[in-house]
């Protein structure tokens, strides 16, 4: 085993030193302007900032100037060398942009001045904006695919109370229509619901979120055939509690959710299980549409144990591939690491991107044909850049 790890370390070191990605492809720039006074954010619950069909890929992000952000989108057609000119989607202060490819349509959504906006992108261009009812004071937003629809989960509230709601948006005669939003769990029991994820699995809508009402952040799920028939709440992460000095126990944050091969449902999150170690990437699987969840499995390998992991992203082609990508500094500098689901276990970590550009904040997607698409932020000559890479595994 030691020889195996040594070989992997040598291989990883070579990749890091050369600063190339695993597949050897060269990333291309998505953002057109590089300005030290403009800051790019690629962030949303579930890290749903990129989506891909077999014909095109779309990316959504924030550009922040003087503390206020504008949400942008850009698309690239398969076979073309670059992205089209980024299109500003928002007029007011905006954040948490997400995108999903569902039923041959790209849905884009974001929060603008505290309200949710949703639109369809037609031929790579944004369409009409829909403000779903009841969406005010929205803090976070995530998206998933329903049956010929987009599922949207969002949190509203403040530091004293936060509630996760879910809704469904679908086109009807050229317009988008939204169902009434429903709370996913009783606020009397779960007063601080945050960081939602949402997906359709085995005919059930599954919503994941975190809540700290017990004293530490735990990961929960609720599911149902419809939003109006959500089940009892299920706790997913294993709570590690050693003694009173360890407080309320381990903590689970930043969950990302995806359907995987063989209709398995997979949730990945950052888990902090000891005071002297940082967050590790953990996973759990459900085989029955989120009703119950299995044991927790660590995704990152032993080489990742020495440093905290950050910003996990998950994607699957729904057929063969399921991958998790995150950032950590095990080699001192920022690097993106990837692990693939291999049968019932996770592969050893592989360096996906590294080097002087200090890559961070990744978002990933698979297109149905199995192509892997990744976007992330890196350091450019005059500021931060959003870059993109397409590859195969």
């Amino acid at each position: 085993m030691r020889g195996q790890y040594f070989f992997q370390m040598v291989l990883s070191s070579i990749l890091l030193l050369t600063g190339v990605c695993v597949a050897g492809n060269v990333p291309i720039t998505v953002t057109h302007t590089v300005d030290k006074s403009v800051f790019i954010q690629l962030a949303s619950p579930g890290r749903k900032n990129i989506a891909a069909s077999n014909k095109q890929v779309g990316v959504v992000w924030e550009e922040i100037r003087n503390g206020k952000a504008t949400v942008f989108a850009a698309f690239k057609r398969a076979g073309e060398p670059g992205f089209n000119k980024p299109t500003p989607l928002s007029k007011g202060d905006a954040y948490s942009p997400v995108i999903a490819y569902c039923g041959d349509l790209f849905y884009l959504s974001w929060i603008e001045e505290g309200s949710i906006k949703v639109m369809l992108a037609d031929n790579g261009q944004p369409g009409d904006i829909l403000p779903p009812a009841e969406s005010t004071n929205v803090n976070e937003l995530s998206i998933g695919c329903g049956a010929n629809s987009a599922l949207i989960a969002y949190s509203t509230g403040n530091s004293n109370k936060s509630v996760v709601y879910a809704t469904q948006v679908k086109p009807n005669k050229g317009r988008l229509e939204a169902e009434n939003s429903v709370p996913v769990a009783p606020v009397e029991s779960f007063r601080f619901q945050t960081n939602p994820g949402i997906v359709l699995n085995k005919g059930r809508i599954v919503v994941t979120w975190h809540d700290r009402s017990s004293g530490t952040n735990l990961l929960y799920a609720t599911s149902g055939k419809t939003l109006q028939s959500l089940s009892d709440t299920v706790q997913i992460n294993e709570l590690i509690k050693k003694s009173h000095e360890w407080g309320s126990g381990s903590s689970a944050v930043s969950n990302v959710l995806s359907n995987g091969p063989k209709d398995r449902l997979v949730v990945v999150w950052l888990d902090k299980r000891a005071s002297r170690s940082g967050y590790k990437v953990y996973s759990a699987f459900s085989h029955n549409g989120g009703l119950t969840w299995g044991d927790n499995y660590k995704v990152s390998d032993e080489w990742g144990d020495i440093v905290p992991a950050w910003t996990p992203a998950i994607a699957s082609d729904g057929n063969k591939q399921l991958s998790v990508l995150w950032m950590d500094k095990r080699e001192d500098d920022n690097a993106l690491w990837i692990s693939h689901l291999a049968g019932l276990s996770w592969s050893q970590d592989k360096a996906f991107q590294s080097g002087d550009t200090e890559p961070h904040s990744p978002a990933i997607a698979y297109s149905p044909d199995g192509r892997f698409h990744a976007a992330w932020i890196q350091k450019g000559a005059n500021g931060t850049q959003l870059v993109y890479l397409e590859t195969e595994f």
Partner: protein, 171 residues
């Protein structure tokens, strides 16, 4: 990967009971009582205006050693006097998605700040220059004596010439 973990109604009732107890005895993810801790962005602006160093405390909900530090160390009168007088005090929840605007105009969450500052665990304490440049980073529970030792290291300007490890050995 057997399936398990669904909460029964009895389990949910127990959870609600536990949470009621938690409300009565809340988990600490807050700075110690009696101090004027600011948010990171507010603290940096004040530190620049007043040209004072920053003491930055990263905690999280459920962090037992944060609670212990608050109760056993920050309750010390000498610590309270030194830290209140000598620093702009800043507290960050390492798991918070609350957004803040940095002096540069960038907007990030408190958790992103923790990522940038590579916070391995909580509690973690930073001493910063007024512009945010890191001077010293210390992990874990610190008793009152250790906190006062750090204060002497920073206030005496020793960090310019000697590491904290060497400073502790010789003082």
């Amino acid at each position: 990967m057997d399936c398990s973990g669904r909460l029964s109604k009895a389990g949910l009732s127990l959870l609600v009971l536990v949470q009621m107890l938690v409300v009565a005895f809340p988990a600490i993810a807050e700075p110690p009582a009696g101090y004027s801790f600011l948010r990171y962005d507010e603290g940096l602006r004040r530190a620049t205006d007043e040209n004072r160093p920053v003491f930055l405390y990263f905690g999280r909900y459920g962090c037992g050693f944060c609670d212990k530090t608050n109760k056993e160390s920050f309750s010390d009168a000498a610590v309270k006097k030194a830290y209140s007088e000598n620093y702009v005090l800043v507290y960050a929840n390492s798991e918070s998605m609350d957004r803040m605007v940095l002096p540069s105009g960038e907007r990030i969450t408190e958790m992103q700040l923790g990522e940038r500052m590579n916070t391995l665990g909580t509690p973690v304490f930073f001493f910063l220059e007024p512009d945010g440049k890191e001077i010293l980073k210390v992990y874990g529970f610190q008793d009152a004596k250790q906190l006062l030792e750090m204060d002497r290291y920073i206030q005496g300007g020793n960090y310019a010439n000697v590491s904290f490890k060497d400073f502790k050995r010789t003082h």
